[in-house]
Amino acid sequence: MSQYVLRRLLIAVPSLLGISLVLYIVLALAPGDPFSELATNPNVPPEVGAALRAKFGLDDPIYLRYLRWLAAMVQGDWGFSFVSRMNVDTLILQRLPTTLYVIGSAQILALLIAIPVGVFAATRPYSIFDQIANTFAFIGFSLPTFFTGLLFILVFSITLDWLPFVYSSDIKATGIRWLFEQIRQAIMPVMVLGLFQAASMTRFVRSAMLDVIRLDYVTTARAKGLGQPRVIVKHAMRNAMIPVVTLVALQMPAVFGGAIVTEQIFRIPGIGSLLISSILSNDTPVVMAVTFVFACLVVLFNLIADILYGWLDPRISFR
C-alpha cells in the first residue's frame, strides 16, 4: 500500500514536469512581464529598464529561463512577487489555507447533500421526492456561481443584512467570537460553491445507484431479509460510490476554477483571487506558481481518488 502510494507519487513527477513546461511556455508567449510597465514609465530611462531585464535574464531563450525557474523551484525558491514585494511562497502560503478551508467545506457540504439525496431519489425513481430533487439539481447546475453568488449577496447581505459580503482575513475578535465570525463569513461562499457541486453530484449519485440497485446481488441481499436500509447502504451504496469517487476526482479542476470565480465575488483572500490579481498586474512569477499549485492539488486529489478506489473495490489491487 505505502509502496503503491510512493510509486504513484513518483509517476506524478513527470506529469508535473510536463504541466510546468506547458504553463511556462504559455506564460512566456503571453504578452507582458513584470517589467513591461517600466518601458511605458517616462521616469525610468530605457537603458535602466534594459539593464534590469538583462539582470533578471528576461531576454534569454525560453528553455534557459525554464531551466532556471525549475532549478530554483526545486531548491524551494518560488520567485519574488514584484507587485506585492514579497516572496511568492510566503504569499501563497498566506492565501492557501483560506482557499482550502472554503473549497474543502464546500466539497463536504456537496457530498453531505448529494449522497443522501441521490441515494434516496434512486430508491424511489420518478417519485415526487425524485422529481423535486431532479428539478433542484437542474436549476443548481444551470445557474453559474457568479450569478448565485450575487443573488446570495443581494438577499442575505443587502436585503436581510444577515451575513457579511466581504471576506475579511483579519477578524478583530478572539476565541469563540473569532471562530463564529470565521464561520459566518464563509457561509455564503461555501453555500454557493457547495450547492453548485451538490447539484451535479446528486445526478451522478442517483444514476450510479440506479445502475447498481437493479443488479443481481442486490436481489440476493433482499432475499436474505436484511431489510431495505441495510440492502441499500451495505450492498448497493458501496458499489455505487466507486464511479462517484472517479467523478468527484475528475471534477476537482472545475472545482478550483469555480473557486477562482467565487473568491473574486466574495473578495476572499485565497489563491484564486491572488491568481486573478497577479494576471491583471502581469506578476508572472505568482501566476506561474499559483497555476502550478493548482496542478499539484489536482494530481494529489486524483491520487486520493485512486487510493479510495482500491479501498472501495477489492478487485483493484495496489500493484
Partner: protein, 330 residues
C-alpha cells in the same frame, strides 16, 4: 397433510409502455414438506417471476401481484409488506439464483455475505456467524473453507460461487429452498456436481426444494413432481415418472422429444425435434389456449376457449382440450 407452500391462482403482471404484461396468469403450485418439485418451461414462460413473487423479489413497480394467494404453512404471504417478509426470507425460504457470477456482491467477502444472514436471523455474534459460515462452506465442499471465507467473489470460479450461494441459501436451515436455474450458467460437469450437492443437502437438512429449470434432463434426475409451465400458466402437473412415461399435453410431449439422445445408434438417429415458433408476448394475449398457435393438434375450440387444468389420472393434471375429446392424446 397441508402442503408446505401453496400458490393459488397467482397473477403477477408488469405494467409496460405497451400495456399490461401478464407474466404469470393464474398459476397453482403446491409443494409438500421435503419434496423436490421441478418447475419446467422455456425462457419467458413465467417460472422465475412465479418464484420471485413468493418472496416479493420482483421489482414493484412495474411488477404487481394482482391476484391470488401464496400460502406458506397456511399463512398468506401476498398481503405482507416487504418489511414483514424479511423475517421469512432466508429464514424459512432460501433462494439460489441463476447467475453465480453476478449474484454475489463483488465488494464484500463471501464469508460476510453468508454470515450476515445468520446474524440477521439467528442473532449470532460476528464470530459465531463466521464459524457457522465456515461449517457451511465445509458442507458444500469448498476446499480450505476457513481460509476462503475471507476471499472475495472474484477469487472464485463459477461452480465455487454457486456453492457459496447454496451455503448462503441453506445457512439458516430454511424449510424451502427455491433454486432458480442453479446450473444453467455452469458447464456440464459442474452442473452435475451442483445437482448432487443439492441432493446431498436435501438429504441432510430435509428441506423442500422448488427447482426451476428448462432442462428436462435435470428434471428427470432430481424431481419427484413436475409442473410444466407455458406462457404464464401451468399446462401439466404430474409425478416425474408418469410425466416422462405418459406426457399428456402436446407442449410437454414436445419438450420431451426435444431432449437430445445419445443412446440411439447412428442408423436410428433422426433430426432433433424442436417446437416451432416461440413463446407469445403476454400483452393482451388472444383468448383460448396460449399454446394453440404452436400446437400441431390445435383445432377450432383451442382458439376460442381456454382449457382448464383438470385431473386426467390420479395426481396427474393438465390443461388441454384434446384429452376431453379422446380420453388420451395419441
Amino acid at each position: 397433510m397441508a402442503p408446505l407452500l401453496e400458490i393459488k391462482g397467482l397473477k403477477t403482471h408488469f405494467s409496460t409502455d405497451d400495456g399490461m404484461l401478464q407474466a404469470v396468469d393464474g398459476v397453482d403450485i403446491a409443494i409438500n414438506k421435503g419434496e423436490t418439485l421441478c418447475v419446467v418451461g422455456e425462457s419467458g414462460c413465467g417460472k422465475t417471476v412465479t418464484a420471485m413473487s413468493i418472496l416479493k423479489l420482483i421489482a414493484m413497480p412495474p411488477g404487481r401481484i394482482v391476484q391470488g394467494q401464496i400460502l406458506f404453512e397456511g399463512r398468506d404471504l401476498v398481503p405482507l409488506t416487504s418489511h414483514e417478509l424479511d423475517d421469512i426470507r432466508a429464514k424459512d425460504i432460501g433462494f439460489i439464483f441463476q447467475e453465480p457470477m453476478t449474484s454475489l456482491n463483488p465488494v464484500l467477502t463471501v464469508g460476510e455475505q453468508v454470515a450476515e444472514s445468520l446474524r440477521r436471523h439467528e442473532g449470532l455474534s460476528k464470530k459465531d456467524a463466521l464459524a457457522r459460515t465456515v461449517e457451511m462452506f465445509k458442507l458444500v465442499q469448498i476446499p480450505n473453507a476457513a481460509g476462503r471465507v475471507h476471499d472475495y467473489p472474484h477469487q472464485f470460479s463459477g461452480g465455487m460461487r454457486q456453492r457459496v450461494m447454496i451455503a448462503m441459501a441453506l445457512a439458516c436451515k430454511p424449510k424451502l429452498v427455491i433454486a432458480d436455474e442453479p446450473t444453467t450458467a455452469l458447464d456440464v460437469t459442474i452442473q452435475a456436481q451442483i445437482l448432487d450437492l443439492l441432493q446431498d443437502m436435501k438429504d441432510r437438512f430435509g428441506m423442500a426444494v422448488m427447482l426451476i429449470t428448462h432442462a428436462m434432463g435435470v428434471v428427470a434426475e432430481t424431481a419427484q413432481r413436475v409442473v410444466v409451465m407455458y406462457a404464464g400458466k401451468v399446462v401439466e402437473e404430474a409425478d416425474v415418472d408418469s410425466l416422462f412415461e405418459n406426457p399428456r399435453h402436446p407442449y410437454t410431449q414436445g419438450l420431451i422429444r426435444s431432449i437430445p439422445r445419445i443412446d440411439l445408434d447412428s442408423k436410428n438417429k433422426t433430426r432433433l425435434e424442436a417446437i416451432g415458433g416461440s413463446v407469445p408476448i403476454l400483452i393482451n394475449p388472444a383468448p383460448g389456449c396460449r399454446f394453440a398457435p404452436r400446437c400441431r393438434f390445435a383445432f377450432d375450440r383451442c382458439a376460442a376457449e381456454e382449457p382448464l387444468l383438470r385431473e386426467v389420472a390420479p395426481g396427474h393434471r393438465m390443461a388441454c382440450h384434446l384429452g376431453e375429446k379422446q380420453g388420451a392424446v395419441a
